[in-house]
Amino acid sequence: MRSHYRHCEFRQGALDALAAAPGLAAWGLMMGVAMVKSGMSTFEALLMGSIVYAGSSQLAAIPLLMVGAPMWVILATGFCVNLRFVVFSAHLRPYVMHLPLWQRLVSGYFTTDISYVLFIRRFPRPGADAAQRHAQLAYLAGNCGVIWAAWVGCSVLGVVLANFVPVSWGLGFAGILALLGILCSLISNRLRLLSAAVAGSAAVVAFALPFQLNIVVAIAVAVVVCLTLEKSAAVEADEI
């Protein structure tokens, strides 16, 4: 772990994360406020804000928790909202399989959407030798560390400040803008742009689906559309 900290890629990962951190921090702040405003006790809000570490599943779980829904329903909802991470783990698998199981679980826990996207953008291919794998993990550690600190720190701050920051300020929208910036950085060809357009539209059309399944449906539709077009047009395969 210490050797990760010393690696220059650790710094690079941290810097890349810092660019997205202000939006994430504002989002975490609003999440802290939202948890308290929903009627959770301060201790519950602090615990949720520090350990669950998945904003969308927290957002989905809070109302269910407050109406006393059965535990399995809340956990199943959290799982569905988190389904995209299952896809990410399939993608990242070759990067981490040389690690022992507990380290794989730890690295999975800390790899959020933003870290996944930034990591894949920097390292389109798994490391071929020990030095490359070390560099990749150092980048991931630096990146996830900054994201975690921004998110948890500001969630806790939000719980504390809940009585002073009105939800009506709409600071949470900064989180959406952070995601937008990352989306823009991924538009490297026309099919990618199409993927975003199709998924965005499908997510709106399918919005009424329960458990935020509209997001999973939208991803599936966009990927199928792009793969079909890719095949028929025989587009040059470019790298991520």
């Binding site: 997205a20 570490y53 959290g78 794989r104 679980l105 952070a178 993927s195 792009c226």
Partner: protein, 115 residues
């Protein structure tokens, strides 16, 4: 209300386990295993699709319905953020710039005009 209940703590811990399980889903088994080709190609389009699927409804919908007015601060904030990004051509701290430009448009419209 406002009192800590044991079952809620259990749910919160359960949600944490769900976070670990979903994020590590394909890390758990160490059997050799490879994604089929179509799935590998699909992964080129999945991340941007996931981001768009979160961003678009958060921008053009209110409480599950499409907005019916242009007077919504979110639309202009997203346009401003994206415009900044492409003006800078993604160089330097373009993501940070996207957030700042977007919020600079969002906050006056939202808090000033109530959009």
């Amino acid at each position: 209300m406002d009192s800590t209940e044991l079952w809620r703590l259990a749910v919160i811990i359960g949600l944490t386990v769900v976070t670990v399980l979903t994020r590590s889903f394909f890390y758990i088994s160490s059997k050799p295993w490879n994604l089929p080709r179509w799935a590998r190609r699909g992964l080129h389009y999945a991340p941007i699709a996931a981001l768009a699927a979160v961003i678009v409804p958060e921008t053009v919908m209110t409480q599950g319905h499409l907005i019916e007015t242009w007077a919504d601060a979110r639309l202009f904030a997203v346009l401003a953020g994206a415009a900044w990004f492409f003006w800078r051509r993604g160089k330097g701290q373009a993501v940070l710039g996207t957030i700042v430009a977007g919020m600079a448009v969002y906050l006056p419209l939202h808090m000033g005009l109530g959009w």
